[in-house]
Symmetry: C2
Subunit: 321 residues, 2 copies
Amino acid sequence: MNKGALALLVHGGSENWSPERWKGRFDHVCEGRRVWLLPDAAFDPAEIHYAAVWKPTPGELAGFPNLRVIFNLGAGVDALMADSTLPKVPLVRVAVGDLTGRMTEYVVLHVLMHHRQELYLRACQREKCWEPRSQWPASAISVGIMGLGTLGSDAAEVLRRIGFRVSGWSRSPRQTEGIECFHGNAQLDAFLEQTNILVCLLPLTPDTRHILNRKLFAKLNRNSPMGAPVLINAGRGGLQDETDILGCLDDGTLGAASLDVFATEPLPADSPFWMHRNVVLTPHNAADTDPHEISKYVARQIERFEAGGPLENVVDPARGY
Amino acid sequence: MNKGALALLVHGGSENWSPERWKGRFDHVCEGRRVWLLPDAAFDPAEIHYAAVWKPTPGELAGFPNLRVIFNLGAGVDALMADSTLPKVPLVRVAVGDLTGRMTEYVVLHVLMHHRQELYLRACQREKCWEPRSQWPASAISVGIMGLGTLGSDAAEVLRRIGFRVSGWSRSPRQTEGIECFHGNAQLDAFLEQTNILVCLLPLTPDTRHILNRKLFAKLNRNSPMGAPVLINAGRGGLQDETDILGCLDDGTLGAASLDVFATEPLPADSPFWMHRNVVLTPHNAADTDPHEISKYVARQIERFEAGGPLENVVDPARGY
């Protein structure tokens, strides 16, 4: 056999993402190919043609002289791009339907929670208080999605079906049926000025770091029945200025926020986000994709690559995603 | 002018449903027709051809000798059907897109909350605990909807788009694309045995009273990654045996419940539902429709009726809805 071996470098993640589980999945889908779960004393670095990684330590990938492709086991590659020792081989990010579906679940859930006044209703329940407030229809709310790639477009489609007005903003021009599309810095203000619920699914790059800041929040639209606008960030913690978010929640620039990601994860116990009454916090699990689906996706790409075919979803180093 | 007058009999409801607001809406849409908000000393009962009602007191409608049509301002007519003095004229229930959309928002929100382990995640936030649990995909969960009319069919379509397996149960046979349809008593067990999240949107009739009881819950499917099944009732409080729900939540027959309706509303302060950690409670506001949409719907039906056309969504007294 002359199939290049695959090295698995997996750190952190939930129980479902344990290194051993990844090893089992890849053994199952990589027929006739050696799969090494690192660190392992027995393997020969020269044998490794492919690496599948989740939060590798910087420099960890530099020791493979015959590496051909790196597969990131998630959608966000910001941590890898920040590693200056990263071998100059194609870097592929995950784009499987399962991940898209899970992100759409998260986005739809959190948009509906804020739209349907769940924070108020849970407080009522705790206080044994039966006081229905007037409820506006979805058509009164404009949801603006930053990032109109695979994830953003799918969430937009479902939100539109539910009845929300939906718009999107992306780096380069996009066209999506029924969605008002804005792009580039020149159209960012126009996008924000009509957005009541802002959903951020942007990749983290030098251009987008701390894009979610007070200056941006102040431009959001306050003229809906919901009042103060809402932020939902399921992208990366580095996209948000956390001091600004807290300040804007406290002075009413923002009405509420759903945050799945943070500058430091796990979120430290002394973070004010934990106990903030207008924050809905989740532990970076918006799109905790099935390892089985991802391992099949990687195995399929390797087979195609070895047969002379193209790789899909290769990161553009110039854009950073 | 010889347009028959409309009497408004409106009791209770939220701020958005105040009698004065209804009067304003109907005055706006009923051009050239007298609209009386009862009680009003000035009106002549013989002048009333139409009544638009929300929770009228029993007997209140019997005093109009020339009544031609009764319009109920909501979807559920169980309270009216229980009034033996109700004049024998057509009773029309509301079926407007706005109401359908709002119920779909509620159903999708509550299905997603249970699917995405929101009760667990909110408890984690309160305890400052960053512990993501494994999350299964929507495709692992079967949502079963009791009641496949306008409301159930619309919610089913959105849930299916999100990725859930969706089935439905109704009194008489239905066919909906992509939804496994069961009907009648003979197929109820088969429907329950494959349902992980049960959504009840049935009308309340003598046949459906207390249909949500321990015997039914015990037949639900427990073999999903979610474990114990979940109940969502946005129909009527009379559909549920509340002692059974509490007992089943406590012994694990049910994992959790979202309840929008109760046997007694407002829910009494001493009800155990308020503080139950596995209950998500809302104050009968799942589909708190816009009075503007409903008044337009009623005015349009009256115009068509006076022009000799048919009424829509007339209640069948034999079925009770």
